[in-house]
Symmetry: C2
Subunit: 368 residues, 2 copies
């Protein structure tokens, strides 16, 4: 614990009164050092740090530094195994099943996608399932690894029960995410990463803070009755799936691929990231890679993607819209800005990260 910092504390430039501007590369190195001090091997710590900081870089702060303190607490308490072993328990030419042994979700899913890409290169399409994993952050991170190899990447996961199934009011699933990445040529790849709920908890809390009513169809109260009162999100209400029963069906498909097909856990068997910190979460994940070259010429596919993107961008616009945006385009713009000018992080979030770092024996100097 008296070992000196392997990476210096990133410079925290005040940004207004309640935020810092921080160089993402310096932050990533510092986060990796923190993770190494919990026993995570260097290569895995680099992956987990890239996943967490990458979310903040893309403006998806809900999956970034805000999660790091609980990751550290779980690593110390045994709720995450610091040493992740990729144990392939079943394998075919185009498939593999990994038992994650309570390792880090981001490390397991990265390895799984890389294995899917490798298999898809031989057979055209491949899928890898993971069981006994944990929180794995932003699924956009994994599908982009396939995109970088001229493949279409697909990723989903299950999660602890915070949402009922359609018609019910017992929490059995969540607004599970599905991510799909597709390369283009001149244009940025299409990177969809959508939780299948009508809105996020964070957005609804923003409505509550501003005293605004919600649009119809986002939230129900604790009895399951439709409500426009955002405060119900804190009082046992829940967010509805997109498209009602249709979104429920898609969520169920994510749960089946992640939890059932993998022989892993499902529904009430999963533990929330913030509960029982010494208990494995038991998440399952499912990733797939489709080799574009198995279907068509890659260069012509990418040129046609550009053509379709331009066809869409040339649309006449609805009132109040400035331009047609592709899935992931806002995040690419935010990432460009963050890489050039630093990421802006809430002061209270970074202060908690630094407190966690000090507990790990790191020098953090004067802050705030």
């Amino acid at each position: 614990m008296s070992e000196p910092n392997a990476a210096p504390v990133p410079r925290l430039s005040p940004e207004g009164s309640d935020a810092y501007r921080i160089d993402p590369n310096a932050l990533e190195a510092f986060v990796a050092d923190m993770l190494r001090r919990t026993g995570v091997p260097a290569e895995d710590a680099a992956i987990a740090a890239a996943s967490l900081v990458g979310a903040d870089v893309r403006g998806m702060n809900s999956h970034g530094m805000i999660r790091l303190p609980v990751y550290v607490r779980r690593l110390k308490a045994g709720g995450f195994n610091p040493v992740t072993t990729v144990n392939v328990v079943r394998e075919g030419p185009s498939t593999a099943l990994i038992d994650g042994g309570n390792g880090l979700g981001s490390v397991l899913t990265t390895r799984a996608m890389d294995l899917a890409v490798q298999k898809a290169r031989s057979t055209g399409i491949a899928a890898v399932g993971i069981r006994n994993s944990n929180h794995n952050g932003e699924n956009a991170f994994y599908v982009q690894r396939a995109v970088a190899q001229d493949m279409i990447g697909i990723a989903t996961t299950n999660g602890s029960p915070i949402m009922p199934v359609w018609g019910g009011r017992t929490p059995l699933t969540g607004p599970l995410p599905i991510a799909i990445g597709v390369p283009a040529k001149r244009h940025r790849p299409i990177v969809l990463d959508a939780a299948l709920g009508m809105s996020s908890r964070g957005k609804i809390l923003y409505y509550a803070e501003k005293g605004m009513e919600l649009p119809e169809g986002w939230l129900v109260d604790a009895e399951g009755e439709p409500t426009r009162d955002p405060n119900w999100v804190r009082k046992g209400g829940w967010i509805l799936p997109i498209g009602g029963h249709k979104g429920f069906g898609l969520i169920l498909a994510c749960e089946i691929l992640s939890g059932l097909l993998t022989g892993g856990s499902f529904g009430t068997e999963l533990t929330n990231l913030y509960d029982d910190l010494d208990t494995p979460q038991r998440n399952g994940h499912f990733v797939a890679a489709i080799d574009i070259a198995a279907f068509t010429d890659v260069a012509s596919f990418k040129a046609r993607m550009d053509e379709y993107i331009e066809m869409m961008k040339a649309s006449e616009l609805v009132p109040g819209t400035d331009e047609i945006l592709m899935p992931g385009e806002i995040e690419f713009r935010k990432a460009d800005d963050a890489r050039a000018n630093g990421i802006v992080l809430a002061r209270n979030v970074m202060d908690e990260v630094l407190a966690a770092a000090r507990e790990l024996g790191l020098e953090t100097g004067e802050t705030a």
Copy 2:
């Protein structure tokens, strides 16, 4: 044309004043005979008839007999090629790309799914793309072929442009469907087949007929402004995707898999089923099969599916709900009833089918 009927006209038992009750097997044989008379080979006619009548059996009348007259007109006009050739233009261990040569969508997609199942049996997962196809009916039909082989089936398609992309008001895509089928043990398989729009045209026309206002978020007017007036669906308004930009992203994924990955047509290149009857529609489709045995023990998977279905069905219910229904469960119940007691079809729909049959030289006797 003077050849006698190969299958008798099904008995049309009056059901109220504006419907008939009909034996589905007799109807299927009759429809197959109609299709054969346009030049469709017997085996393909049987597939197309099973797909069309199967939709009515499941209560999905929008994809059943209502489509048959335009199928016949397209077959006669050259807009559908009666002789479907499954031309595999690219193939790998887990993939194939079929050029449909303007053949029948249902025949092509059936063959594609069977090929995907066969390949998945060897490699664990397989996907088949189809280009230069046509309207292929209900995607639930194809995923159930995979389910019958203890596999998870996935199917999607693109379609003629009737919906703008998110933020636009130029029609460039549609409320494209995604279908997923998963076997269980004691319980019926889960068969999700969801168009990714907030509602169907038919349902919105029903609101218009009853003089009812629509819920928020279903429809916009011709300028793209939100409206609760269902009549806009007939006046240049359009149905919104489920979950706004999220549903748009999922629709885009369906379009990319069906139209771009296949080297086929996309966006404005497609022709509507009811327009230009001598012109190929140029739809693309994408199907995949996942062999459950490649990931886990099939019997234990099915038992766990039952367990999860029962966990969901044991939920406390929201007000106004009688039971938790799985995706596809209503359709299985309707199919049980239709197989036992006959399907109920609107008189005007059946009258158009019989008129088309007479034009093909079939005897239809006295009707109505």
